[in-house]
């Protein structure tokens, strides 16, 4: 009899996600769906506010990637006001972006993905946690702590605060960097680079070879990719043009304020979150794992795929090695983790490059802005994907419309496809266990999704609950952690 398996993480009002796996009568996977709830009502909340308020409000959307929203918002404001920040203003923004990326990527690799790789995907959840990793690898944990402290400290020096940043303002950056501060940060940047080099070397020697079979098989799908590149095709995480790449590697570049000419959004009745797809390809939309249409991915692997090269030497060398092994574009989902480490290295090198730039201590960091009726689009690469803020204002500079596309939204279709692929390969003849379900979750974790920002669930209700329903929807049994 057909069954429905449900993996249901704890819900919270602003976000919940569940994985529903539908088995057919033979006990094999028919479909798998990841249902998420996106942040709702944000446009209405912003309408009527002065647009310059938005870079202060947006960091509150997400406690994990506040800098990404902060910078995309500031860039959208620049466009609305029709201004171009001075070089120092842009470089200070990019510097904060690189440092925030380092903090984020370190944390994700060592304590999220790391728990899968250092402790094993079948490790009990009670030890797949911070202390478990600390106990398994105490020396590594110490290095990670120091560099994360340093990154937070660097952001405080640059922006006055690391939590809820406000330093990026329409027209530039509110606080110049003093030479003495720059010298202090320069020493910190060297330490960050050492950890980045260590991390990728460690992973290539101790992690990826051990799990190569899993990397080659889990959640593997074939899609296009979207990411940001500079005019010369180099990787850039703060600014540039968007590049939309087909599954076979052909691509088209476009300015990000024309994103609506290239991307459209599909709606499914079973999900609140939309499914962006590449309408430019003219093939429509389908999440059929065997024959996808219009589906593209963002996030680390996408950015590594779409760029022609990386303009920092160590990261470029790693990119060349990566492409020699996996080609371009690389499709294996778990390679997101490898790509994340290449980005970590790039951001460490970029931090040093920016701090060594004489312009970084210029006191001309912002220009004046005058309200006007306009539409402006700001785009950056958030750690988990291309982030677009699209604002429209009236003649007084008051917001009349807001549209946000966050990284995870772009990845909604690919996440569903990866889960379907993983479930189909692991569940047969109605047989499954907790280890199998954990592995399905690994395919989602590779995308580092944001199932609606701002979750911080405290009440500890059960998270993984498996309801087994028959084809008529009748509850036959429940499994839970």
């Amino acid at each position: 009899m057909a069954k429905t398996l449900v993996i249901q993480p704890v819900t919270r009002i602003e976000g919940h996600a569940k994985v529903t796996i539908q088995l057919n009568d033979a006990g094999n996977v028919d479909t798998a769906r990841v249902n998420v709830i996106e942040l709702r009502g944000f446009e209405k909340f912003c309408v009527g506010r002065p647009v310059e308020d938005l870079p202060r409000i947006m960091p509150r959307i997400c406690g994990v990637c506040p800098w990404s929203h902060h910078l995309a918002s500031a860039k959208a404001c620049d466009a609305v006001f029709g201004v171009d920040p001075p070089p120092a203003g842009k470089k200070l923004r990019e510097l904060c972006n690189s440092i925030a990326y380092m903090e984020e990527h370190i944390l994700h690799f060592y304590f999220l993905a790391g728990a899968d790789f250092l402790l094993g995907p079948d490790a009990d959840y009670s030890i797949r946690n911070v202390i478990g990793v600390l106990q398994a690898a105490p020396d590594i944990a110490r290095k990670v702590v120091k560099v994360r402290h340093m990154c937070a400290h660097m952001l405080e020096v640059l922006a006055g605060k690391a939590i809820h940043p406000q330093a990026a303002v329409p027209g530039g950056f509110s606080k110049p960097l003093a030479p003495a501060e720059r010298d202090q940060l320069r020493k910190n940047a060297d330490d960050a680079l050492e950890l980045a080099k260590f991390s990728i070397a460690f992973a290539k020697e101790n992690v990826f070879p051990k799990y190569l079979d899993v990397v080659k098989s889990l959640g593997v799908i074939t899609t296009g990719f979207l990411g940001t590149v500079k005019e010369n095709g180099a990787l850039n995480l703060y600014d540039g043009k968007l590049r939309l790449m087909t599954p076979k590697g052909a691509y088209e570049d476009f300015p990000y304020d024309r994103y609506t000419d290239f991307i459209s959004e599909h709606i499914e009745s079973w999900s609140y979150l939309k499914f962006p797809y590449a309408k430019q390809w003219g093939e429509g939309f389908s999440m059929d794992v065997e024959n996808p249409k219009g589906v593209y991915r963002t996030n680390t692997l996408a950015r590594i795929n779409v760029c022609d090269f990386i303009d920092t030497p160590l990261a470029q060398a790693e990119l060349e090695e990566f492409r020699a092994k996996f080609g371009r574009p690389a499709q294996l989902t778990l390679l997101y983790h490898w790509a994340r480490l290449i980005e970590l290295l790039y951001n460490a090198e970029n931090t040093i490059r920016l701090l060594d730039d004489p312009e970084i201590t210029s006191t001309e960091t912002r220009v004046k802005c005058t309200p006007r009726a306009a539409r402006g689009v700001g785009c950056t690469e958030a750690p988990r994907g291309t982030l677009i803020h699209d604002y429209t204002t009236d003649a007084d500079g008051m917001v009349t419309n807001v549209n946000l596309i966050v990284g995870t939204t772009h990845n909604n279709a690919p996440i569903n496809m990866s889960v379907t692929q993983a479930a189909k390969s692991l569940i047969h003849d109605g047989k499954y266990d907790q280890g199998v379900l954990n592995t399905v979750e690994m395919s989602i974790r590779a995308y580092d999704p944001c199932f609606s920002c701002a979750t911080h669930r405290l009440d500890g209700k059960l998270s993984v609950k498996l309801d087994i329903l028959d084809a008529d929807g009748k509850l036959m049994g429940t499994l839970a952690n």
Binding site: A17, L39, G41, K143, K146, H149, A454, L458, G460, S463
Partner: protein
């Protein structure tokens, strides 16, 4: 490549206040979601109405609490006492203030697909049981939480903010108990 052992020395002055100070109070929540902003509102209230001693780190961490808790779990320096201020739906009367003991929350696997869903309760329990930090959670029962972005506390939860502030000050820095307004009246 430099030897990785050179990282072992950590200058304590490089550590953030929430690692170095003996008492840490974190206001947690999203101010864009109605009563979920309770924790942040209490921090704002205490800062505005009381003198916070140097030994106390009082922070509105908004939605970034997980990153801080991660750092605390891993850090060689930790506070002696940690208080979390948060809003919660526990089926009580809106505005009711109560304590939660992290040790009483059963170990669970919560969403861990990304940093956005890491189990805060598990991190708190780890701090308490493994890292020997005294962890307390002061919660306020919310009214109905909005389904859309909507800033501002409900009347019941708003009324609870000064009560929570008074409790917090009495528990953690009672010498500052007189609200700032009274102090000013005495000395001015």
């Amino acid at each position: 490549m430099r030897e990785i052992d050179q990282f072992d020395e950590l200058d304590q002055s490089d550590l953030p206040d929430f690692c170095r100070k003996p008492t840490v109070v974190l206001g947690v929540g999203n101010i864009l979601f109605g009563d979920d902003g309770f924790g942040c509102a209490v921090v704002d209230y205490v800062e505005a109405h009381y003198r916070v001693p140097e030994t106390v780190c009082l922070l509105d961490v908004g939605t970034s609490v997980r990153k801080l808790l991660f750092t605390l779990c891993l850090s060689s320096a930790r506070p002696e006492r940690l208080l979390i201020l948060d809003a919660i739906d526990a089926g009580r009367n809106p505005g009711e203030i109560f304590e939660i003991n992290p040790a009483e929350i059963p170990p669970v696997k919560l969403d861990d697909f990304s940093m956005h869903q890491l189990p805060t309760s598990n991190l708190l329990r780890e701090l308490q049981e493994t890292c020997r930090v005294e962890v307390r959670v002061l919660a306020c029962q919310t009214g109905p939480l909005p389904e859309e972005v909507s800033q501002g506390l409900s009347p019941a939860v708003s009324d609870a903010v000064p009560q929570a502030a008074e409790w917090l000050v009495g528990e953690y820095f009672p010498s500052s108990r007189a609200p700032r307004g009274d102090l000013c009246q005495t000395t001015c």
